[in-house]
Symmetry: D3
């Protein structure tokens, strides 16, 4: 089996089909993204990743849109083109507007800049910040 | 002048004092953090960074707490200890609860994991995702 | 000379050809990969990198397959698509199975996740860990 | 509850104690590391991370020592000091010698270097590498 | 409006056109790069980024070519393909030779390697280095 | 032998002493930095790294100060505290002024920011940039 191709539903083992079905049902989509079809080359990773993601991205103290925006922020920082595309699309579906996206990327850019300013000047942590955690 | 020490208000040039005053006034704090006191070694960077940050972090389509959570997410991803401390504290002041922090870090962790799963399996971007941007 | 094209053997200076010959002989391959054909634009870098890599990747306390797996792990973490492709192929040639690749990527994913959990919670190093190094 | 302190066993909720017990039993250790005692501030993350790690690091097509070496490689690349310390110690317990550690770090260093050489020269993926995946 | 396409001059709002005009005039170019045409989807980011970049990249204690070489070094380290392409081209225009590019990438590669050697061996900062900052 | 301590000259093997001597002679310093005293735990890495660094950092098409500034830029981007300290000190010795350091860090910050803006907006490489490489 080549890793160059996605594992499509009709070629998948029953345990993989079960994960695909749960993704489609949970997200109310017709088909799963390529991400899942490639993870399916290692069914244990597919299953574990989906269970973890379903748990972590569920509504809680933070709402699902905010979680997708954070996902985009991390993916942009790490330069994962696939992840930027898929999580930007997910955020759109949950209501991200053009203006929200623009402000998000601006914050991500500034954070990446000031992270390096702090590194460059070797800024020591303020006692007050240390204590407040 | 040594870069090992913060530039305190009473030792600062008037242009630096003016930025400190604006930070204290805008944020309603008694003193500025070490971050600003070290940037003050290069006044042009201090001034430009503060103007940019004030503009980017202002309320807009995204609220200030959400922006601070994104800042924490990027800083954790980049492992900037100073920035994690200062922006976690800022998020606390804006209302971040323990549960919100816990969920935030969980999302950041998952995003860093799945970014690498996508890299490892070299997942091609779905046509549908490409078009939706 | 344009950097957009690989330096092919017949166009290469003798010092570059000598490195190509040593790579082909050491690895028992017909031709060298694009990586070397682009480094050849700076012969000193080509020569130094090949000498270093030959020394570092040789059998020692760690066997060559293990070293290639580590190479893939770093390349996936840094999102170097070329390096993921070339070192995954090298690992395959040395015996990496599909199951080994799947487990490797799973470990890489988890490590990238828990690295950020440790950053986010600012976990101090245990005294026992400090001493054992 | 402050996030600045570890959650010790006697202060922990039963669900946290159960995870601590499972870690101690699985790894045959007297106490759990700080990593777990800080994750315990968010019990869902503690439980999920431990379950995932136990599954991913178990013996399989790759042996546990190799998996710990990969963990060290990723942690060194990301500069997570806590993770370098804890996974180096884990690798030591599983049999990593001084010479193995030295060779591991050498490979990690070279991979981080050649990842950037590939980026800098924008090396295109060889057709043969593309096909072999 | 789709983010998949650049904002061309004739479709741009007056505030965006004004930034494009200033870039073209400052750099003496016929048209602006895609980078600016995509930032234009969020005019506040376009304007702020251009003002900052114009200030930071201006001749000062460091000359413009040196600043572009540093920009290439950071972009190669972060694996931003767009930025490597655009800042390598800018450096070429300012006089970067093939040999300078080759040496630059060699330094970037070594720095990325030794950064990880320092992490792996957890090298403590020498007292003399600490004091000299 | 513990990796927690530096390898001092009087405890070092002759091959390690020879490298220390060459570093001290080449750089005209009384003692070598901790970086070398920790690499000495793996003499092959010590020797290879020193030979490579000596070659790469030598005067060439780029002068030694410029190379040290690039080293600082990469180290700040990767957040290697040891490397920022040691290469900032090296740059100081070669003539870096406070103003040069300030401008350097400003460029590094901007590059890290715009790298992420390019990622976030998924900016395609301009045809003209592609061709000019």
């Amino acid at each position: 089996m080549s890793f160059s191709n996605p594992v499509e539903y009709h070629d998948a083992a029953p345990e993989v089909q079960a994960v695909y079905d749960d993704i489609k049902c949970t997200r109310n989509v017709e088909d799963v993204n390529n991400f899942w079809k490639y993870l399916a080359h290692h069914p244990a990773t597919l299953s574990r990743t989906w269970q973890s993601l379903k748990e972590v991205m569920a509504p809680g103290a933070l709402d699902p849109l905010l979680k997708e925006l954070v996902y985009v922020a991390v993916s942009v920082t790490n330069n994962c083109a696939y992840c930027v595309a898929s999580h930007s699309a997910a955020a759109r579906r949950l209501g991200m507007s053009d203006e929200m996206f623009g402000e998000l990327i601006a914050v991500v850019g500034m954070a990446n800049e000031t992270n390096r300013l702090a590194n460059g000047y070797r800024v020591p942590i303020d006692a007050a910040l240390q204590d407040s955690f």
